[in-house]
């Protein structure tokens, strides 16, 4: 008997929610109601894996992500904590909000919550909706020509969220208001403490349980979290809980902010130390708890990247420290690579997906993305791959490591390349006939062959779908440079896209890779720890954190690094 293999997603922290918002927007942009697109149905992602069907109190069917998100107070902006689909909040956006308040007041009195006339209403000023949300509410979003300038205007992920969440989804940390200058929940231990507090723990674990109870074949968890701040503590404790209670596969993505965040009572030097300690402790837990984890950042290196050197991709330009834009890049990666276990035609379990690329305890993997793919219009994949330099296809999204191109274990997913663009039919093939790749019958096969030749002594698993990445609003379409056409392929020669045309979709290639070279990532982290004096970190010492614990974490980290020692071993 076949049933859905559900996955439950977690988002801990503000940046994780930025990435998550893009990710879910992407999912909904790809929903197909009547299949008139040219992508056959069996090559679409299986949405039930991540989504659940529900019924709200107006008897309307809802379809919402199976998601739990935790963030600071104030990040939700206009979003009611219960989501917008199930009622239980006041519509303040429209003009008649005075009526709504009055109605709520009356019903409260009717239900004998107070003596008549004894109800005192205290209203905070309604949060101004972002222009995009206003238009969304009116159903008048203009994705073709209106410029919402989200990169500058959005102050939180809620401002560009198109997806709608279930009431169970959103959690905010009471009493922790988001501040622009400092991270309120600073240290890993603070997060751990928060997880253990009964006010958070009971409710949150109950929500996990309710999601799990609904699932017939829960296969695992996707977990995104901010590793630079206290949310790392929450996430690692949560992972521990998940393993205790559910023992399923978990794919964990620690995210680094694309900027240096500061903490309360910390100068830049201590702030750096706090970041390092947070990472060390998180890695220590992840090596024990996660099935696989892939650190993500748009920065080239982290820990002491004072100039904030950012990764670059040809054809794509983003402002390095912009949360909205950089999170979109990470979300594009996440969406593409997770297709590896979400496609309908190739049902692959999350566990298998993780274990394939993390042999011999090498649980940490690296991310590579190519967006846009760089194929020219009218060019065939076979020619494109033929022209590509070895290993230059992908840009790394895991900071401070290059998996190299020999002895790599990897899993790649290509999207947006239709079958017709694979190669020419025999009668027009010409020089293509001479290439050995001409016998390949699918995109994934050809990629497999390409990597077999290009990467020495490597194991590659490839999957593909003709479904491209949807880059319409609220995705930052402005990232693409003018050499990219509206369909995401590169324009030929020096041609440029027309000014008012936007890129609507793009082909992409994403990979999760593993090789012995990843050890350098761990080495850099360990190198940074020499400068850290834990006793001087007030925020750590005040919460009663013990030096021993830290030392254990460091030892374990070194032990873990040993897994990456042997360069010949796959």
């Amino acid at each position: 008997m076949q049933h859905t293999r559900e996955i439950l997603t977690f988002q801990f922290g503000t940046y994780a929610n930025y990435v998550g918002a893009h990710f879910w927007n992407q999912q909904e942009a790809n929903f197909v109601y009547d299949n008139d697109s040219n992508v056959p149905e069996e090559q679409l992602p299986h949405n039930d894996v991540l989504y659940r069907e529900g019924l709200n109190d107006q008897k309307q069917t809802t379809y919402t992500p199976r998601l739990l998100s935790v963030d600071l107070l104030g990040t939700l902006r206009h979003l009611p904590i219960v989501g917008e689909l199930y009622g239980n909040f006041l519509q303040l956006a429209n003009e008649q909000n005075a009526d709504e308040v009055q109605k709520a007041k009356d019903s409260a009195e009717q239900n004998q919550l107070s003596t008549p006339g004894g109800l005192d209403v205290r209203m905070q000023p309604p949060v101004e909706l972002s222009e995009y949300q206003q238009d969304l509410l009116k159903g008048a979003v203009n994705i073709e020509s209106k410029d919402y300038n989200l990169a500058q205007n959005c102050s939180s992920w809620a401002d560009y969220l198109y997806a709608r969440y279930h009431p169970r989804t959103l959690n905010v940390l009471q009493g922790m208001q988001r501040q622009t200058d400092v991270q309120v929940l600073g240290t890993q231990v603070a997060g751990v403490e928060l997880w253990q507090s009964s006010s958070f723990n009971e409710d949150f674990c109950d929500r996990i349980r309710l999601y799990a109870e609904e699932c017939d074949g829960l296969q695992g968890f996707q977990l995104l979290f901010d590793i630079d701040d206290g949310f790392s503590g929450l996430a690692t404790k949560c992972l521990e809980h998940l393993n205790d209670e559910y023992s399923r596969a978990s794919y964990v993505l620690p995210l680094h902010y694309p900027r240096n965040i500061s903490y309360a009572q910390a100068d830049p030097r201590t702030a750096h130390s706090i970041r390092v300690v947070n990472s060390v402790l998180s890695y220590y837990h992840l090596t024990e708890q996660a099935t696989m984890f892939t650190p993500l950042s748009t920065l080239e290196t982290i820990w002491r990247n004072t100039t904030l050197q950012s990764r670059r991709m040809t054809g794509l330009h983003w402002q390095p420290d912009n949360l909205y834009q950089s999170s979109a890049v990470l979300a594009a990666y996440l969406d593409t690579v997770t297709l590896g276990y979400r496609l309908r035609q190739t049902p692959e379990t999350l566990l298998r997906f993780c274990e394939r690329v993390s042999p011999a305890g090498r649980k940490m993997t690296a991310a590579g993305l190519s967006l846009p793919l760089g194929m020219e219009q009218e060019q065939d994949l076979i020619d494109f791959l033929d022209g590509a330099d070895n290993g230059s296809l992908l840009s790394q999204l895991t900071p401070g490591c290059e998996p190299g191109n020999s002895h790599v274990v990897q899993s790649v997913v290509a999207r947006g390349i239709p079958y017709s663009r694979l190669k020419r039919p025999v009668d027009q093939a010409g020089p293509q006939l001479r290439m050995s790749a001409y016998k390949c019958e699918s995109v994934s096969q050809m990629l497999q062959l390409y990597y077999q030749c290009a990467y020495h002594g490597s194991v590659t698993h490839a999957a593909s779908t003709p479904l491209p990445l949807n880059t319409k609003l609220p995705f930052p379409y402005e990232l693409f440079d003018t050499r990219i056409a509206a369909d995401g392929f590169k324009l030929q020669s020096e041609a440029e896209r027309e000014q008012d045309k936007r890129v609507g979709c793009a082909p992409a290639l994403a990979a999760v890779q593993n090789s012995s070279k990843l050890g350098t990532h761990l080495d850099t982290l360990h190198g940074q720890t020499h400068r850290v004096q834990l006793a001087k970190l007030q925020s750590y010492t005040q919460s009663g954190f013990e030096q021993d614990e830290y030392d254990t974490a460091l030892d374990k980290l070194l032990e873990f690094r040993d897994n990456y020692e042997d360069s010949q071993y796959l």
Binding site: L92, A108, D120
Partner: protein, 532 residues
């Protein structure tokens, strides 16, 4: 909003008199916000957030949590009030009121040159005296339904409409009495489950002598209603999942892999079979039925097998419900099915399912001797339910406190008036300037009856004069009748407060107030703020 803005001065640091002024203004500010909430006639606040979230409450603690308190002094007071809530579950508004008033009264003398240290010493003396008075006036009570009803009712009336309070009182007292079962050991309030149900029309709160769970059967063929049921509670996985990380099995051929999978599956099937065998053994030939409640998962194949036998199976039960189930129905929670016996099973008269939108509820009722019960809260929307839930929680705490104290204190401001009179007399025996502080403490206590009077629409001074005079004449305590504005005897009307609540208030308020008085410098320092 003016009062809140008082809490938010921009000053980076302040010294001596100025520091004191900051502390006092913050305390007063908080007091202003909370003042209108005190007592049964206090207003209820409906908080609407910028995003449209609604919260309706009268509970001082909930309000304090909801206001974004940035001011250090105010957050210190708020913390004292939270501590009050944690330890007793009541008196949070009173705490804030009293701290504010203590500082206000102290301010009068301090501005005339009295040293804060002397003030603090005086407060300490006054507090000791007040505690003495408290011990004198407390009324020992028997633990019976009537007494518990009175205390619960007083507490609940300060939270919700009197009519609703009456209903909740009954529910709370019954709940506690059922689980206490005349045993001498302390009561675990966790054994009262609060379950909420959002329902448009049906709005009443009831006590279920059994358990209500927020999930139901996940198989269409399972029975929706069972009578006379055996309950098997378990913590055993009934799903096939190659779960353990790194336990991958190794195989050479596809058939070998199939064989492995089948072997794994077999393992789970064996467990299901054991349950079915037991069911057949105890139920066949009788009118008994069988329910399985599992803390771990049950996959569709296992569900199917169980459904064929007419077994109602629930998966992923709450951890705490396993404990509750054992207390409500009897039997023991099983961690393995290896040695299943009939005596491991619990019993319930009826088990049925209730579907509401996308939510399912399972009722386990008519248990023989339930030591765990559920209070089912129904309301038309979330904020209503939340408010009722908070009220119930406080009601339960009040009852539990009474059982712990075995004593009550007459309410309606009676204790404060008596303490005031006693302190005024006591003042004469205190030497030196400290007596001024005793006077200040006495005056501060009167804020409670005053506010009660004001909130009910009576004149504060008028009331205080009447009450203090009456109290001096009568050996019994005299409180304020909120419906007439006249003095009355709280013992006659059954208005009581918890002894421990009052004690805690006196203790924590005088300490916090003294601490705040002794502060002579307030600074806001942190590396980020110093560097700008």
């Amino acid at each position: 909003m003016a009062s809140i803005s008082l809490l938010n001065p921009k000053a980076e640091f302040a010294r001596a008199a100025q520091a004191l002024a900051i502390n006092i203004s913050a305390a007063k500010g908080l007091q202003d916000v909370m003042r209108t909430n005190l007592g049964p006639k206090g207003t209820v606040k409906m908080l609407v957030s910028g995003a449209g979230d609604i919260k309706i409450t009268k509970d001082g603690n909930v309000l304090l949590h909801d206001m974004q308190i940035q001011h250090p002094t105010a957050s210190m007071i708020a913390r004292a009030s939270t501590a009050q809530d944690d330890s007793t579950g009541d008196g949070t508004t009173t705490t804030v009121m009293l701290i504010g008033e203590l500082l206000k009264q102290a301010d009068i003398y301090l501005s005339e040159g009295l040293h804060p240290r002397i003030m603090a010493e005086g407060f300490e003396k006054a507090r000791d005296k007040a505690l003495e008075v408290l011990d004198k006036v407390k009324v020992p009570v028997d633990i019976n339904k009537k007494n518990l009803m009175e205390i619960a009712n007083t507490s609940l009336k300060t939270k919700v409409h009197p009519q609703l309070a009456d209903l909740l009182t009954e529910v709370c007292v019954d709940a506690v009495l059922t689980i206490s079962n005349d045993k001498k050991q302390p009561i675990d309030l966790h054994m009262v489950e609060l379950m909420e149900m959002q329902h448009k029309t049906d709005t009443d709160t009831q006590l279920v002598r059994g358990l209500v769970m927020d999930h139901g059967a996940r198989h269409p063929d399972m029975p929706k209603r069972l009578e006379n049921a055996y309950i098997l509670t378990a913590n055993v996985s009934l799903e096939y999942e190659k779960a353990e990380v790194n336990s991958g099995f190794f195989y050479k051929t596809a058939t070998e892999r199939e064989a492995f999978v089948r072997a794994e599956r077999e393992f789970i099937d064996q467990r299901v079979k054991k349950v079915i065998e037991l069911k057949r053994a105890v139920c066949d030939g009788t009118d008994k039925t069988f329910v399985l409640i599992n803390q771990k998962g049950i996959d569709p194949i296992s569900l199917d097998a169980l459904a064929k036998e007419g077994i109602l199976a629930l998966r992923r039960a709450k951890r705490r419900n396993m404990e509750r189930l054992a207390l409500a129905c009897g039997g023991t929670a099983m961690n393995s099915f290896d040695d299943l016996q009939e005596e491991n099973l619990g019993y319930a008269g009826s088990v049925y399912e209730h579907v509401l939108g996308e939510n399912k509820y399972t009722f386990v009722e008519d248990c023989k001797n339930p030591l765990s019960v559920t209070i089912l809260i129904k309301g038309p929307n979330k904020h209503t339910i939340t408010q009722i839930k908070d009220a119930i929680r406080d009601g339960l705490r009040a009852i539990n406190n009474t059982i712990g104290d075995k004593a009550l204190v007459p309410g309606a401001g009676a204790f404060e008036v008596r303490a005031y009179n006693e302190l005024v007399q006591y003042k004469e025996t205190v030497k030196g300037k400290a007596r001024l502080a005793v006077q200040a403490f006495a005056d501060a206590l009167l804020v409670i009856p005053k506010t009660l009077a004001v909130n009910s629409g009576y004149d504060a001074q008028d009331t205080i004069v009447k009450l203090t005079v009456e109290d001096r004449l009568s050996p019994e305590l005299v409180g304020l009748d909120l419906s007439t504005g006249e003095p009355m005897k709280p013992t006659d009307l059954g208005v009581y407060d918890n002894y421990i609540v009052k004690k805690q208030i006196l203790n924590s308020c005088s300490i916090i107030a003294s601490n705040l008085l002794l502060v002579d410098e307030v600074m806001r320092a942190g590396m980020t703020s110093l560097k700008g």
